[in-house]
Amino acid sequence: MKTRNALMRWLAKRIDKIIVVAGYCVLFLLLLTLVPGILYQERLVEVGIWQETREIKNDHFIVRYAMNSGDNKPTILSPSEEELLAVDGWESTITVDNSARSFWDHTFRSYATEDSVRHNMGWENYQLMQTSTLCDNYVTIGYKFYSHENTRLTLNLKHRYENYSLLIWDNVAVNQQGAAAQPKYRVEAGLSFSENVQHVWDNAPYWVNLTCSLDNIEENRWYQIAQLTVSYSTLPQWMS
């Protein structure tokens, strides 16, 4: 008890000095956060598992993104919880009709989080963003478009899956409902492949062509163009 009281007397007597010293300690720690390698943390998110390649053609350019799923790989389990398949990654390609524009005028920005990646390309008055999100056993890929002013643009968006042949297109949802609500905004989509599972096993490439035109954009906002969901098939009987 005596010690406790003595300690309190000491504390009460020197509390102002203790606060000043504590303040200096916090300042010192803050200073350390500015020194790389000590408490400083790079704010950039790891993007190493994503790869980006660009190809320039006469009338269009292609940006190809590939992802290695790493530790987040979705797995397909049998009813007995035995692992049947782990998806190592996927590849996605955006082809932009570029007949009237120079590839070199485009700027790109990518941002990856733990389970999603955003690829954005911009050219003067438009931006096109692709967002891919990895879920437990499916991937969603969304496209949205932003323009500062009235823009007419035709995009050919293509996805190609050949190495990961157990991927099938489960659903392609295009914002047709939104188009009805906004008549100045037109989207068309089509699938250039048949949903033939046997075809998938042939490792043939699959393409989704998405064509959209946007007219008379008046609002400063992102337009959701399409949302694609890619899920994984279970193994066919002949393989199991």
């Binding site: 102002d16 920005r109 963003m129 906002r221």
Partner: protein, 421 residues
Amino acid sequence: MNLNHPLDLQTWQGLYVDLGNNRSPYDTLENLTADARATLGAGWSGTDAYMYYTYPPMLMMIHYPFAKLYALFYPPVPLNFSPVGVDPYPQVPLLLNFLFKLPIFLADIGIALLLYKMTKRSEKTVVAFLFNPLVILVSACWMFDSIAAFFLLLATYLFERKRYDLSAVSLAFGFLTKIFPIFALPIFCTEFIRQRSWKFVRYAFIFGLVSALVIAPFWSGVKLSFEYQAAREPSGLTPLNFTVVLQEAGVSQSTLDELKFAILPVIGTFLLVMGMSAIYAYLSKKEMSLRRKILITLVVYFMVSKNVHEPHILTLIPFFLLELHESSTLDKRIHYHVIWILPFIYAAVGVPLIRFLYGYIDPNVLRLFESQALPSGIVLAQGIVLGAVVIMFYAALSSLLITLIRGKPPVPIEALKRLRK
């Protein structure tokens, strides 16, 4: 009821839709932030998060039942947030306005009741608070600072009544609503130490425990919110908000971005730590009422904070009114009026005031009042007025600080009564 700040209303609307869908607004914040970080060339892309729900969790917990009620009448719709750097003009039903503002109005009434009790039934003080134009502007049209101010005032009241545990819980609720009440924690703790009591350990523990229990389930979102608040560019009524002048002077955008998003936030953090440490050290041994100590702490906080927005000043008002009730002088009365009038003018010119009426005016008309749409001469005049207000406000805070520190300690009311007897 349909008066709002357009940008903040987008957040309240999103909050109600998220909660109606049983979705955490922090998830939406993380998603919007990733979008913002991937966006090219927009004004806010240099910040650490999209300006959505960047507050501690208490507000969403208060509004959860209201949002579920709202969802019964208006099923949640897909959200469409404005791109970074673009002003939104969401149109919302009157019910959302009513439900969102209900807790704010209740908090204002709570502050009035506490002032009534803490001033021994001074109706004048209650009227001065409830009819203060800045309080009306902030609570009726803008922000929820009243709720945080209520919890801070309640913590002070309970502390004075020696209900320390409840005081710690109330202070934690204040911090969990808006961050700034945490800066009062050292004042409460040093009050114990000054009285040579170990109760500060229990007080700090209860505060920490309540805060941790509420924050833990939402840690990643709260962390992102705090990162955003720490890294956001200096703005509002602070001298650190001088990059606007440099922009007018033709300084390049990349230099401005370096200043706004890298250099000034660091300087701001250092200033905050130095300023608050100095005032805590100074007040730790001073004999003066707790209310005045908290008023001084808030004044210093607004002097060293890099983001001093007009609604924040609301918190000063009840503590200032308590000070005026205890020892009113002409000097203090002038300071009181200057302290609320200047933020009011800043909002009226900077937002500007007409944009609060957007629930009643066509957004296309209001877009004419956005700074990018105004003629350069008007923007320049607007900048000069805002700059002058910032300088005057800082001078007023400095002068008020000197007045409060030099002023004689107020005579405790009980001692005054004894003297009269």
